[in-house]
């Protein structure tokens, strides 16, 4: 009896070890990616997985702080690639997280030069992040409900004409960047001294706003007609639902807009650097770029000009107008840690009506 039990236990243990072994073997061929929601779309991942046999395990996060916290709580080597705001690539480099990327194996010549942001993605001559997608935090609106001419100036931020019909995208950096541009300041040169003037704009803006909305609520607000204007919105809100709501559009005001850009980086401690590079190459390829640009989570401009988008998709993203847009766009604010904290506190005060 005891022998039989022992044999069964042994058999079960062997089976369990075999399972663990097969899992470990499978894990070795997997790719662990720390990503934003647009990378979770099977339409993006499946062709890569089918072609290479590499399974991509994704974990979504929002905000660089949250992403870096996940890395802090993980073991070195747990993650292979990460999506990160291009302006924050240096934060990862300063923590010693990222591996330099081989530029000669990436389609650098095909990337819109304005979105490469070498000042953030290149450190000591080495590239640590490659821009994969970009767009604008600007004015999103329903053109059947507002005067489109009013959307061509950042004066709309404080225009009483649209009181109660405005939603504000709940992310302090780009919206404060827009507020700064509205009063003639450059987003790349913001200092603490600029904050009182920006605060005035924010307070006026908030007084006219119906809500301060996160990504999903922003899209819902425009789609349901709860708001007619989204400050901080852009193609990332309107393009994905343009077919159902053809009246949704975005403008790049004469003062410009804030350019957002997301990059892919490879972890220094990755155990699958070859696979990581293959994944980055796939995402940066014309096919991967088209799929990423039109991800079900949100649309955005592909960084690679050769992206195989359809004519319709290009029209929705206003692909052919990018040269002009990029000329007028300003950089995403990248404040120092202290200024960042003060900007966030100012944003908190705006929401609290103080």
């Amino acid at each position: 009896m005891t022998n039989r039990l022992t044999r069964r236990l042994f058999g079960a243990s062997v089976a369990a070890l075999a399972l663990i072994g097969s899992y470990a073997a499978a894990s070795a061929a997997d790719l662990n990616a720390l990503v934003w929601c647009d990378h979770s779309d099977p339409n993006l991942l499946k062709p890569f997985e089918d072609a290479t046999g590499i399974k991509v395990n994704v974990k979504e996060f929002e905000g660089t702080g949250a992403g870096l916290a996940i890395v802090d709580q993980s073991q070195p080597g747990d993650w292979d690639v990460m999506v990160i705001d291009t302006v924050d690539v240096r934060r990862g480099v300063d923590r010693g997280l990222f591996e330099p990327l081989p530029e000669d194996k990436l389609p650098m010549a095909d990337i819109f030069p304005e979105v490469l942001m070498n000042q953030h993605a290149v450190v000591d001559g080495k590239r640590y992040g490659v821009t994969e997608k970009f767009g604008y935090n600007t004015i999103g609106f329903n053109k059947s409900k507002v005067d489109a001419a009013d959307m061509d100036t950042l004066g709309v931020l404080t225009n009483d004409k649209y009181k109660g019909r405005i939603a504000i995208y709940d992310y302090y950096l780009p919206v404060m960047g827009l507020a700064a541009m509205a009063i003639g300041k450059k987003t790349s040169e913001l200092t603490e001294a600029d904050l009182p003037a920006i605060k005035e704009v924010l307070q006026k803006m908030k007084a006219n706003a119906k809500a301060v909305t996160d990504v999903v609520a922003s899209q819902t607000a425009l789609a349901t007609g709860e708001a007619d204007i989204l400050i901080g919105g852009g193609e990332w809100v309107t393009a994905g639902i343009a077919k159902e709501n053809p009246d949704l559009d975005f403008s790049i005001p004469k003062e410009g807009a804030v350019l957002w850009s997301q990059s892919l980086a490879m972890f220094k401690d990755s155990k699958n650097k070859d696979n990581a590079l293959k994944f980055i190459q796939y995402v940066m390829s014309p096919e991967g770029q088209a799929r990423l640009a039109t991800s079900s989570c949100y649309w955005g401009m592909p960084a690679n000009k050769q992206a195989t988008l359809t004519a319709d998709q290009k029209k929705i993203l206003r692909f052919d107008e990018q040269a002009d847009f990029l000329k007028r766009a300003q950089e995403y604010p990248a404040p120092s840690e202290d200024l960042d904290k003060k900007m966030q506190d100012l944003w908190t005060a705006m929401i609290q009506g103080q």
Binding site: E62, G63, T64, G65, A66, L68, A69, G164, D170, Y171, L173, K210, A211, V212, T213, D214, V216, A217, T220, T224, G225, E226, E337, D340, K341, Q344, D345, T348, A349, I351, Q352, G353, Q354
Partner: protein, 279 residues
Amino acid sequence: MSSASTSRIAWASVTPALLWTLVFFVVPFVAMGVMSLHPKAGEGASLAAYAQFFTNPSYWHALINSLEVTLIVTVISVLLAYPFAWILAFMVPERWQRLALMLAVLPFWTSYVVRSYSWLLVLAEKGVVNSTLVNLGLLSEPIQIANTRTATVIGFVHFFVMLLTLTIYANLKQLSPNYRKAATDLGASGFQTFIHVILPLTLPGIMVGAFLTFVLAIGDYITPQILGGNNELLMPQLIMMQIGRRGDFASASALSLILMAVVTLAYLACARWLKIERA
């Protein structure tokens, strides 16, 4: 059985619970405490993360907002749940009570996030509520309900009325019918019986339910985030804001511990009050 072996069995019985509490409460609690005292990596301990809460009006207003919303939700939920539980316990025939209870807990079966987004659509300008009120001629034009504190309160109350109904119902069912009969025999009216006999006897159930409501509502992030439209910040939203981009775990930990202190105070007040009532 010797007292030594009884003691061993007792320890063996409580050890899993103690370990659970140690690993999932005490250790994270201490970790948060340590984190809250180290706002900047590489620098010594400081109370800066706590100081900012008391010196920045936007921060302590978040606590006031949280307390206001939570108290409003708790009071409304109790006022709605008590008669609901009463009807279930004493007016619905015994054989239908199980079905009625099941219907009462039906909202629990849906995802919290989905339920909140559903409320957002219901309360929107073109939603069911506004459309109905306008069509009935009660409103000349839609009013803003979604993205307000009212919407947050509605979302919370919808959820917590069910929770309170269950706790109060359980309390009412435990009461012997003899209490009511005795009060009636002594000449008390139905209202007097309720005020002087039933209500005091069900207060512990109400307090437990109200405390649960308070704790769950004050720490909830989803409902105010989705329904409140960020037109004011509550403590959980302020805490999440510290983490999102900046990964400021010192501030997030300090704010969490302050919130926890408030909940602890509420618990102590509740426990003390219940003790007095029972004395």
